[in-house]
Structure formats: C-alpha cells, structure tokens
C-alpha cells in the first residue's frame, strides 16, 4: 500500500513510538510569540532546562501589539511587559527575535512562509491554532499548547497521537468572485466546525492546484475551523517558485537537492485515507457567516437557515440571538459598521490586491470604519511598492501597521459591543473581536464590496 503525503512527512519525523500511546515527533521549525510562550520559559527555568536548538525557533511579536504608532513604546502595560519578556527570553536563550519595527516582523503565519522558513516536508509547530497555514507548502504544521511549547524548546520534539487522514477533493473551475476564503468557508459549512476533529486533511484537485500559494495558505489556515489539526497541499512548481530566493530557503546545490526531494512529497496513487470527501467547484458561491462559529455559513445570496436538528437548538438560538439575526432572513443589504481586512487568514499581499481591485475608483461608505492591517512589514512594503496604498487612500481608506489586531482584539483594535463587522478573519466566536462584537466572516472581495456600500454586498454586483 502506498503512503499519503501526510504519512511520508509524519513517519520520517518519528523518533520513537510508545505502545498504546503517542509518537515522539521531531520538530523542524518552531515559531513563538509573546502570548503563549512566557509560561513555557518559566517552566524551563523552574526545571533548569536550556533551549536545545535555538536556531530552530523563531520569535515575533504580533498578538497584542498596537497597529498604529509602532515606533512609540507600547502603551498597554501588560502588553508591553509580555513583549519585553519575550525579547528577554530570546536574548537569554539565543533565539532570533523579530520585534516591532524589525524588517521581518509580522504575524507569525505570514512571516514564516514569506521568509522561506516554511518549507515542504518539514514539521512545524507554534502555540497558535492557525499554524495549520504552513501546510500549504506540504509541511505538517499544527498548533500546540504552552506545555508543548516548553517541550519543543527543551527537547525539539513533542508527543502526539498520529491523527487519522482525510482527503478533500474539489475539481472543476471556480465561479467569478469565489476566492480561496469562500472555498474554505464552504467546506467548513458542509463539514461543521467539528467535522474534521481527529483528522489531518489533504486538499487535492483542480481548485487547489490552480490556487496561488497565498490562496493555499488561506485554505490550510482555516483547517482548524472544522476541527482538523492541520491541512496540507502537495508541493508543486508554484511552491518551489514561491520559495526560490527567499532568505531562509536553501541556496545553490542545496536548492537543487531540496527540489529533488520535495518532488516526492505527494500521496501515492494507491494510498488510502480514513475519509474521502469531494465537492464540485461550480457549486461554490461567495460565502458569509451568520452565526458564532465558522460552520454557520451560507452562500451570500441565500437566507439564514432554520434550525435543522444538527446540534442543540439552544446553542443555535443563542448564536442567532447574539448576532440579532433571525431564521429565514436575508443577509444581503444589511447595514454594517466595520470592515476588517487582515489576519493570518487574509492579511497577505494577494488579499490587499484583491481588496484594492474592487474598491479602485470608488469611495468608502460614510458609515464604515475600515481597519486594514497588513500581515507583515514586508506585506506593508509591497502594498506601497505596488501602488496599492495610493488606491486605498484615494478611496478614503487608511492603512495600519502589521499585527493580529482585531482578529482576536487583544490590543486596542476592538469592535464595539453590538456593532457588525465584515471581517476577513477566521473566527466569528462571541466576543472574539471585542466584547459584544458581531463578526461576519467573508473574503476580501466581500469585505471590499461591503466597505463601498456600507451594507453586506455581493461583490458580483459591484464588479
């Protein structure tokens, strides 16, 4: 029997297997940030342990940092202390730290790929569930807890039960204005927010083959939103082109031999998955969420569904009550208050290109507060270099500085209670974007269309 892509990468990283227990898995790359690492370093200190391989860990500040005036000291005392603590811990243990203003700074899942740290065939972890993003390169990448961060710092490995394998295949061609975000939200709406729990997903088929690397990252990023530990896509020519010449990518003869081995990273034709699911590309429309988990999503032109016995009625009702929506209502045309473009899901250059393509020559609606937050300083630089900033400014938008920002609202970027935000992020949980905030997840195109009209708007009506 052949091996799946997932098996190939996983099996080559197993140091040891424990009977009726987990595998000891070697970790190639480890990302840390200010929020989930401090207690791990406290643990190292109390056990008198050192960081085993400091050059395999990379640190950034992103989760609770401000997105304006980053050249000034961080005002929030606790945030400042957390970032300072990370800086000190990194200095003490010899770990590269890319703090605010450092040219490599940005959201952890944006900077890994854009600097070539993320590569095919690697195992990559971070104390953040959206680590699944890096699977777009054919790596096994998943989020871990702080105890596991301590394991990776001290022993460069973690203990994990090997998950089951699922393949999601989508063939055909996507309709106009249907983006990778819509594809991912569509899948989650079909599988539910727990439909892939216990699985690692491989995405295959025409749709993912023809996606850009940025698009593949968006899809893999959202794997966790259906419960999967991670998602991955077999590397191909596009992957290699993306990585060629990046700061941490292999160089010269090492590059050639890397490509040679990366070419084997695909599921063998006779390999077997625990679960296979397939969809048709032409069934997918621009998507939007109406509830308080990413599985509560519908095509933008459709009505909010009636409760249908899957799950508990009280959870469904509580969700709609929180959003102040009703069963059977149409979402299109509803007035909104905020638009947020950014996050590890949709904060890459392609997302800003997509947003700019739609708003070009139009004006932001008066009733909309728009927060546009690039995923990294490199993304910010590209926005300027490509003339996108000018388009944004001419249409009445402003650009902020990089960070996770209103995706999880740890910093000052909080959507006020009761307000509606069309957001390109990953979670519409209660209070996620601020206490009482109401989040509607959508693609950068839907966000752009809605920012122009001030209402939930189908981008196909604007283009």
């Amino acid at each position: 029997m052949g091996k799946t892509l997932f098996d190939k990468v996983w099996d080559s990283h197993v140091i040891n297997k424990i009977d009726n227990g987990p595998d000891i898995l070697f970790i190639d790359r480890h990302f840390i940030h200010e929020v989930t690492s401090p207690v791990a370093f406290v643990g190292l200190k109390s056990r008198n342990l050192k960081v085993l391989f400091p050059n395999k860990t990379f640190a950034t500040a992103d989760h609770n940092t401000p997105t304006i005036n980053q050249h000034l000291p961080i005002k929030d005392v606790l945030s400042a202390q957390q970032v300072k603590t990370l800086e000190k811990n990194c200095a003490k243990h010899g770990i590269d730290f890319w703090g605010l203003g450092h040219k490599m700074n940005g959201i952890v899942h944006v900077i890994g790929p854009e600097n070539g740290i993320t590569q095919p065939g690697l195992t990559i972890v971070c104390g953040d569930s959206h680590t699944s993003t890096h699977g777009a390169f054919g790596a096994i990448a998943f989020g871990i807890g702080t105890s596991e961060v301590e394991m990776v710092l001290s022993c460069q490995s973690i203990m994990q039960q090997k998950p089951k394998k699922m393949r999601i295949t989508i063939d055909g061609k996507l309709n106009s204005c249907v983006t990778p975000k819509d594809v991912a939200i569509y899948i989650i709406s079909k599988l539910s927010s727990s439909g892939a729990t216990g699985y690692f997903v491989e995405y295959s088929g025409d749709v993912f083959k023809s996606m850009t690397m940025e698009g593949r990252m968006t899809v893999c990023n959202l794997s966790i939103e259906m419960g999967a530990r991670g998602g991955m896509i077999a590397p191909d020519k596009k992957t290699f082109e993306y990585l060629n010449g990046k700061e941490f990518s292999p160089k010269d003869e090492k590059w050639d031999s890397a490509i040679e081995s990366w070419r084997n990273l695909k599921s063998d034709p006779n390999s077997v998955f625990d679960k296979e699911i397939s969809f048709n590309a032409n069934e997918i429309e621009p998507m939007i969420t109406y509830g308080t988990n990413p599985g509560m999503a519908i095509p933008i032109s459709k009505e909010i569904p009636y409760f249908n016995d899957s799950g508990s009625k009280s959870s469904f009702s509580k969700s709609l009550e929180y959003m102040n929506f009703k069963e059977g209502e149409v979402m299109l045309g509803r007035k909104i208050d905020y638009v947020f473009l950014g996050s590890c899901t949709n904060g890459r250059i392609e997302d800003f290109r997509s947003f700019a393509s739609l708003i070009k020559g139009k004006r932001k609606a008066e009733n909309i507060d728009a927060w546009l937050v690039p995923g990294s300083l490199k993304v910010l630089k590209s926005i300027k270099d490509e003339g996108i900033l000018e388009i944004l400014i001419n249409s009445g938008f402003k650009l902020r500085e990089p960070g996770c920002s209103a995706c999880l609202a740890m910093n000052d970027d909080k959507i006020p209670a009761g307000k509606y935000a069309v957001s390109t992020t990953n979670r519409n949980f209660e209070g996620r974007q601020g206490p009482g905030a109401r989040t509607i997840l959508a693609s950068p195109l839907v966000a752009a269309a809605s920012a122009i009209t001030g209402k939930i708007t189908d981008p196909r009506e604007i283009i």
Binding site: S12, I15, N16, N20, G21, P22, I24, F26, V35, T36, P38, V39, V42, R47, L52, F53, H63, N64, D76, Q81, Q82, G127, D128, S129, F142, I144, G145, T146, S147, E148, E150, M151, S154, C155, S157, I158, M159, Q160, Q161, S193, S194, T197, G198, G227, R229, G311, S312, S314, S315, K318, L408, A409, M410, A417, R427, F429, E430, G431, R432, P435
Partner: protein, 198 residues
C-alpha cells in the same frame, strides 16, 4: 513530577449544556496578557459570568450557587478554536479536575492531559443522563475512576467507561508529564536530529 496525581474523584458537577464552546469563551483573549500561570480562574467564562457592567449574569450555571464541584459537564465539541492552554489553566484554577463531554476538540484535549485535567469523553446518551441527574439533584455525586476508566452516577449506579491511552493514564496517575519523559530521552533526540540534519 509536574502536576497533582489523579486517581479517583468523587464530586458533584457544574453543568454547561451548550455545544461548540470555544476557548475564546472559556477565557477571552484580553485576559491572556500574563507572563506567569496565575489567577486565570477569575476570568473563566468571564463574558458569560459577567455583563458589560461587571454585574453577575444570574442565569449562567456558574453563578447558580446550587451548583458546585470539581467536575465540569459540557456539551459536545468542547474547547474548539484557539490553542490557548490558558483555557485549561483557567478551568484548573477555578477548581475543576475533570471535564466531561461527548466530544472534545483535539488541542484542548491534549492541553488538558498535559496539565493534569482529565478529559472524560462519553456517549451522547450518557451525557444527557448526567445533565438530567444534575438538574434533578444539584448535589448529585459522580465518581470518576481513572484506574478503571469509568464514570458513574452514584445515586443510581449507572456507569460508562472512557478511553485514555495507557501512557497518558500512567502519567496522570503518577503526576508525570511529557516533558519529564522527553528530557530523559534527550540523547535519542539529538542523535535523530544529527541523522536528519535539517
């Protein structure tokens, strides 16, 4: 030696009969700014326990004085979303030693096992029994027996078994954790690292 040993607990339970409870509800992101593992219990389910004026929300089960105990009984897909271990720290700090549900999110479950909170996964039907029992009698006692891998309703003797790997079970019973285990095998890890030299 990393955390308290877990053997058998006998306790009443607090119910949270809701599906898809995510870790942003268990502990909102704005309470994740600490640099030490201290005091997270105060903010457990913060926005469900208190309203925007910091007034207690009366009909939330945690604010009902009739409910207490070391066991949290929750609806399916508990702990989905963010990987924040702070969620489990908050649950532990509040006083819980076990969480019972018909389905757990993966990362949350790992985090529980890594700090010594026992995730007990049971059938949907037995979960309904537990909710019914708590509703009938707030003080009803439940026994979670880790060596036997069973959970029982003491009043009527109904019981169900649950799964846990031998490795994790031994760890919980002895209060060991994965870091202890890995540190003891550091030489193997270094040998492996040299072999693959990435």
């Amino acid at each position: 030696m990393a955390y308290d040993k877990f053997n058998i607990i006998n306790s009443s339970a607090i119910p949270l009969n809701m599906d898809n409870v995510d870790t942003d509800q268990i502990i909102p992101a704005r309470y994740l700014k600490a640099i030490e593992r201290k005091g997270f219990g105060d903010n457990l389910f913060r926005d469900w326990r208190y309203d925007s004026n910091n007034e207690m929300i009366k009909d939330f089960s945690f604010n009902n004085k009739n409910y207490s105990g070391k066991i949290l009984v929750a609806g399916k897909n508990f702990g989905c979303g963010s990987s924040r271990e702070h969620a489990v720290w908050a649950i532990y700090d509040y006083g819980f030693r076990a969480v019972v549900s018909s389905f757990f999110a993966d990362i949350f479950k790992n985090n529980c096992l890594n700090i010594g909170v026992l995730p007990v996964q049971i059938s949907e039907s037995f979960l309904s029994e537990l909710f019914n029992e708590i509703e009938k009698d707030n003080d009803s006692l439940f026994e979670i027996n880790l060596p036997n891998q069973s959970i029982s309703i003491m009043s009527n003797g109904q019981s169900e078994s649950f799964n846990i790997s031998n490795y994790k079970k031994e760890n919980m019973i002895n209060g060991f954790d994965d870091i202890d285990y890995l540190v003891d095998r550091k030489e193997d890890i270094i040998t492996f690292a040299n072999k693959i030299s990435r």
